[in-house]
Symmetry: C2
């Protein structure tokens, strides 16, 4: 579709499962979201109770009712590459199959249904639709909006409709990737005493990792589970050379009670006595506190029911946390099938999720 | 030069340094030795006191004087690829520069000079010129001759004219390369407790290597120095995946008092308790005893003078050892410059080496 073609229309009056199917059949692999962003913008602009803003292919729509609280419902509109699984297909068991059914066009459908059907919510609402979540972090549309228009994301509580099978997953763990460089001195392996072996120098690093006891802190009633792991090791020059360099790539997944600085300091401390020549932070995304003790979150938990689980992986809730908005993951998709050829969603979960959110946002507040 | 072109002639009446220069100027990178083998065969066939045999590009010439002892003088005629260092150049300080000057056309020149100038040696002589020493072990011409015509290599003592700076280097150490495979189970690194980290599983292997105390056994008066080293380590799937496999490549350089089976058993024993899933012998070449207590070797040492040194690297003396012929390395080249762009040899060393060998092979035996 050429960039300036008129956007295909999205009909927000159809039910959640049908809208999910329509969104899946509107391919939007990362980097090609413009037509879908156009369609979403057009559909939202037709709703008189919403003010709509756009930045790139990111669309933000807000009510301005002067409520005492504001809730943000957010979702990314891109998918991973299609794997022969578009158009969508609804089977006789109520399962909708196709790329993005779980991650996360069913969540986007729920956002759009709430936008269309709740013109007078009990809390002010902000709907965020963003691009490029499935690719490199620096392309992420939510990050771009947070940088350029942080006021668009303001709120008391945020729900990210990432797949969580209709369960609430609180906050997210941080993830820090560090390169540990060990040194040695090259020599022919027939005269190894002339050199110094950098792979042997990694022995204390691996010993620390093997013996490491990860924390399992409880935060807002959720038990997080940390992990400190080598995800890569590399060393060696040739089969007859004592290697002069070895690198261990370590990934620290940490609970959201640690700040980024604390997480980095912890890893430095773990390996302090291991003879590491250079400690390089290769990648770092902070965690997000679950924020379940916030009144809006408590009301949310009461409305959607169930018991919140900790989110172990990193998600964009962290970007809300970074701008001071507590956030949870709550969406109809099943995360186990995200990015898979047999990706699917149960239409019951889509309806359930939409109903629970509508109840929460329409019940009379005390 | 086409394969069937007449061989360029080699003049064996010129002195050792001049003959070395002629050999260097006759390029014979591994795999292209035929013209040089032709020239050597033709030059040797012109000598009436020698019987000449050929197998591939390997030339073997023997005296048949019925002496009580037979000595083998052996050298490879190939070089590593030329690095802008041919033709040869003799500088004003008596240094001859060029590819193969050290490794080992100066040694080949000495062999040819002895062949040409010692028609009635005190011991029967066998001259072996072979190809493909600088490439994979299975291409090695000396190995091919040992397999096809082992009787051509028979003798009481062998001198391999590999570069040793005119010092005798006895025997050689064995070299064993083993792949140690460690196992784990993949999982997302955000939920590391669902898997098992194969890189962490390598911790005991690296600990053993770091703590290993290599032997320094004395054999025939020579102190060898062993080494057990990781020469490569590899593990990792992706930056967010707990790796299910890690491989440590270990090189054991061992003194020649151990058999190949003993060396392998030793390495298996070192890593017996380290949780290694699979132990794969990737490459193995046995050591060679120095054989300096043999009467021919004692006479050789007395003739060439100096104090024998142990040979730490692996050389083709091991192939002689395998067929029951004790062998030493003794050649004019400097091994430190072998395979280098600035490869060179001192012409004095060439003359010295030739003279010492001639003395040894012409002195009246008691």
């Amino acid at each position: 579709m050429p960039d300036n073609a008129p956007a295909a229309a999205l009909d927000l009056t159809q039910d959640g499962p049908a809208l999910t199917a329509a969104l899946v059949d509107f391919p939007s692999v990362s980097g090609t979201e413009k037509p879908l962003a156009d369609a979403i913008e057009q559909a939202l602009r037709a709703l008189p109770h919403l003010t709509v803003d756009r930045y790139g292919n990111n669309v933000v729509a807000r009510t301005r009712l002067g409520r005492s609280e504001r809730v943000v419902l957010a979702g990314h509109i891109d998918t991973v590459p299609i794997a022969d699984n578009v158009p969508s297909r609804l089977d006789e068991n109520g399962i909708l199959w196709g790329c993005g059914t779980s991650d996360m066009k069913s969540g986007v459908a729920v956002q759009l249904r709430i936008a269309a059907t709740v013109p007078e919510p009990n809390r002010d609402l902000t709907f965020v639709f963003y691009d490029n979540e499935e690719v490199a972090a620096d392309l992420n549309g939510l990050g771009h909006v947070a940088d350029a228009h942080p006021e668009w994301l303001e709120g008391d509580f945020a729900v990210l409709l990432e797949p969580s099978e209709g369960e609430v997953e609180g906050g997210c763990q941080g993830t820090l990737r560090v390169l540990l460089h060990l040194d040695g001195e090259r020599a022919h392996s027939a005269r190894s005493w002339m050199g110094s072996n950098a792979i042997h120098a990694a022995a204390p690093v691996l010993a620390k990792l093997a013996a490491y006891e990860p924390r399992r802190p409880v935060i807002d009633g959720l038990e997080y589970r940390e992990g400190l792991n080598a995800v890569r090791i590399e060393g060696g020059v040739a089969n007859n050379v004592i290697p002069d360099a070895c690198t261990v790539v370590v990934n620290y997944r940490y609970a959201p009670d640690l700040s980024m600085a604390e997480a980095e300091a912890h890893v430095r401390e773990v390996f302090a006595d291991c003879g590491v020549r250079e400690f390089v932070v290769d990648d770092h995304s902070g965690g997000a506190l679950p924020g379940l003790s916030h009144p809006a979150a408590e009301a949310f938990m009461a409305a959607v029911g169930g018991i919140a689980r900790p989110k172990f992986g990193w998600t964009d809730v962290s970007r809300f946390s970074a701008v001071g908005v507590p956030a949870v993951n709550y969406g109809p998709g099943n995360p186990l099938y995200a990015h898979k050829r047999d990706e699917h969603v149960a239409v019951d979960k889509i309806r359930h999720c939409e109903e629970r959110l509508r109840d929460w946002l329409t019940v009379r507040l005390p």
